[in-house]
Amino acid sequence: MTKATRGRAPRAKAEAPGAASEFWNLRLYVAGQTPKCVAAIRNLNRFCEEHLAGKYRIEVVDLLENPRLARDDQILAIPTLVRKLPEPLRKIIGDLSNTERVLVGLDLRPQADAGSE
């Protein structure tokens, strides 16, 4: 786990979200290659390229291989996307097909608002 990333979180919190210097550490929990999981992986990749190009990292965890992590990370639904960085930790469930809700879930919404202003 690359948890020890640069200590940028506090600043990220203080600043407006989506500052250019922020790094996004995302982890997607799936269980095998079900259609929902496959769709989620595809949607996530697309989303990140669109909104977080160059400042994100995606880690896909297959719970069928690491069932222990389901408990340790409090995962219930599949698929679940966890924003480990920037803090605070956020969870999004579903296949990420609703981009609008993904934006809200990842706390990227204010940026979109700011953009529109």
Binding site: Y29, A31, T34, K36, A39, A40, N43, L63, L64, P67, R68, A70, R71, Q74, I75, L76, A77, I78, P79, T80, L81, R90, K91, I92, I93, G94, D95, L96, S97, N98, R101, V102, V104, G105
Partner: protein
């Protein structure tokens, strides 16, 4: 017929003992093995505890490890909460007998962005089951999920899948659910869990809370259908099925003394049967407690333990009061043979009372138990509830071969024999103490109304409280009725006086007859002397007479000789006689 049909069913439906006292008896062996059971009820009714105990007992008694999936409390909270009940979840987890998984569900933290399912829940559960080799699973309270996810239809489908999955895994599961409005559970879980549904309740009537348990449904098996009270104490849950113990207790032939020899004599001469139940009823102040104290005293004197539940007086009060009738209970208390448990009945509800009594009996293992008085419990519950509680208490004591004495306060007016009829069927020996008021006195009478299995006395005895304990006296049954107290003493004095004069009369007569006999004997002696004199005279007369004859003959011969008569004369005479004859 019933047997023929029930047999294959019981073979087809293996059961999983819960290890919870009483519940296995109601369900005739436990929960359906390999199937989910729904436990529902309002908040605070003990659902979680039942689920926990199911797992703990499984792990400790039946070597069936378990998984507890908590949706409401964290593992730490849970561990703390059940520690007071004697369950050490940490220790069980350490021995790989139990896995606790806290599932955190918080709506505000979950953003839904499309299709999803709860596969991770299955994975977690599956992982936990595999990690300890679990045979039992508890899900507490799975309905919390409905608060965390926005799509109830999806949740329902997932729950259906979950219960199917649990069955496929072959684990016996307990699923708890909160009571809904008019339904057993808020989300209608009973639709999915169709094999066994247990409903818990926590009702408050007249400020007394009573927990109850009912098996709503148990497919494919017979089960007790009543509502059974249950208790939660430091040993966990205890369901108290009224009839659970049945009438299977052994009957002892051994007799124990009541501590009052005269009463033992009334009871077929040898006292009570060990393990029998005695009811002592009577109005206020007739000596019920004293009788109970005698029994306790006698038991301790034999070196047996006695447990005394006092609902009216404190230990000090009883000890002091009994000293006044010559019974010193204090040494037994100090020796640890006599234990007092004094509490106001209104302190808590009936069930906690019963629980407390159960516990005390289990802990102390007495051979004699006194409950003084049971009637005070009526202030806590209705008569029917008190009766059902006492049935259970009596059963408990009988099974343990504990001789029990219950005192019961009856009120004036109405028949004394009727007030306690509700209890009389439970009781083996029923002693009635009653006041007998007469001549401005109040005295006590004791009857043996019934005593099973012995030829008991049908007589009333006067019951005296002396400074040397209880004394029983025969009462006088005269033409004026039963005499007790001073009337009896007066009667006794009269009897003694009568006895005395009767004795004197007899003596007088004896002397009189003696005297007369002497007189008669003297008379008889005189007569005999007279008779003898008479006989003597006659004999003498006869002697003289025969002497005279001889002399006459001799004289005549002499005379003949002197007249020189010889043989010729005699010969002539002879010839003459001969001629005449011719």
């Amino acid at each position: 017929m019933a047997r023929a049909t029930s047999r294959p069913v019981s073979r087809a439906l293996p059961k999983c003992p819960t290890g919870i006292q009483g519940l296995d008896e109601i369900t005739r062996g436990g929960l359906p093995r390999g199937r989910p059971t729904l436990v529902c009820g309002p908040a605070g009714c003990g659902k979680t505890l039942l689920a926990i105990e199911f797992l703990v007992r499984g792990a400790t008694r039946y070597d069936e490890p378990g998984v507890f999936m908590a949706f409401e409390e964290t593992a730490e909270e849970l561990t703390q909460n059940v520690r007071s009940l004697g369950f050490d979840l940490d220790e069980l987890s350490g021995r790989k007998k139990l896995a606790v998984d806290y599932v955190h569900v918080e709506r505000s933290e979950i953003e839904e962005t499309g299709e999803y399912d709860l596969e991770a829940l299955f994975i977690r559960l599956g992982y936990a089951i595999d990690s300890v080799g679990a045979r039992r699973v508890a899900l507490d309270t799975i309905e919390t999920l409905f608060g965390g996810f926005s799509d109830p239809a999806l949740l329902r489908a997932e729950l259906r899948r979950l219960f199917r999955w649990l069955k496929d895994r072959g684990v016996t599961a307990v699923i708890t659910g909160e009571r809904g409005d008019g339904t057993l559970t808020r989300q209608g879980l009973e639709e999915y869990v169709s094999d066994c549904v247990i409903s818990l309740d926590h009702r408050v009537t007249e400020q007394m809370a009573t927990r109850r348990l009912r098996v709503v449904k148990y497919r494919g098996t017979t089960h007790g259908t009543n509502e059974y009270p249950f208790l939660i104490d430091e040993r966990g849950i205890e369901v108290l099925p009224v009839t659970s113990l049945g009438l299977e207790h052994a009957a002892s032939e051994e007799r124990v003394s009541t501590g009052v020899p005269a009463l033992d004599a009334m009871l077929g001469g040898r006292g009570l049967y060990r393990g029998s139940s005695v009811l002592v009823s009577g109005t206020a102040g007739v000596g019920k407690t004293s009788l109970a104290a005698h029994l306790a005293h006698a038991a301790c004197g034999r070196g047996e333990r006695c447990l005394y539940f006092a609902f009216e007086e404190s230990l000090g009060q009883v000890v002091r009061n009994m000293r006044s009738v010559g019974i010193d209970l204090e040494p037994w208390v100090k020796k640890g043979l006599l234990r007092f448990q004094a509490a106001r009945p209104t302190l808590y509800g009936l069930e906690p009372h019963l629980a407390g009594m159960h516990k005390a009996v289990r802990d102390f293992e007495p051979s004699v138990v006194v409950v003084d008085p049971i009637t005070n419990l009526v202030t806590v519950g209705s008569a029917a509830e008190v009766k059902s509680m006492l049935v259970r208490l009596v059963d408990l004591l009988k099974v343990r071969q504990v001789t029990a004495l219950f005192t019961s306060l009856t009120h004036g007016g109405g028949s004394l024999e009727q007030t306690d009829v509700g209890l009389s069927s439970l009781i083996d020996t029923w002693l009635l103490l009653r006041d007998i008021e007469r001549d401005g006195e109040r005295n006590r009478g004791l009857y043996v109304l019934k005593s099973r299995g012995m030829a008991h006395s049908n007589q009333i005895r006067e019951f005296l409280l002396t400074d040397r304990g209880i004394q029983l006296r025969d009462v006088y049954l005269g033409p004026e009725g039963v005499l007790t107290g001073s009337a009896r003493l007066a009667q006794e004095a009269r009897e003694r006086a009568a006895e005395q004069s009767r004795k004197e009369e007899v003596e007088r007569r004896r002397r009189e007859s003696e005297r007369r006999r002497g007189a008669l004997q003297a008379q008889m002696a005189a007569l005999r002397a007279e008779l003898e004199a008479e006989e003597e005279a006659i004999r003498r007369m006869t002697d003289q007479e025969s002497g005279r004859q001889e002399r006459l003959l001799a004289d005549r011969q002499e005379m003949a000789r002197s007249r020189k008569a010889n043989g010729t004369e005699q010969g002539d005479l002879g010839n003459h006689k001969r001629g005449a004859r011719r």
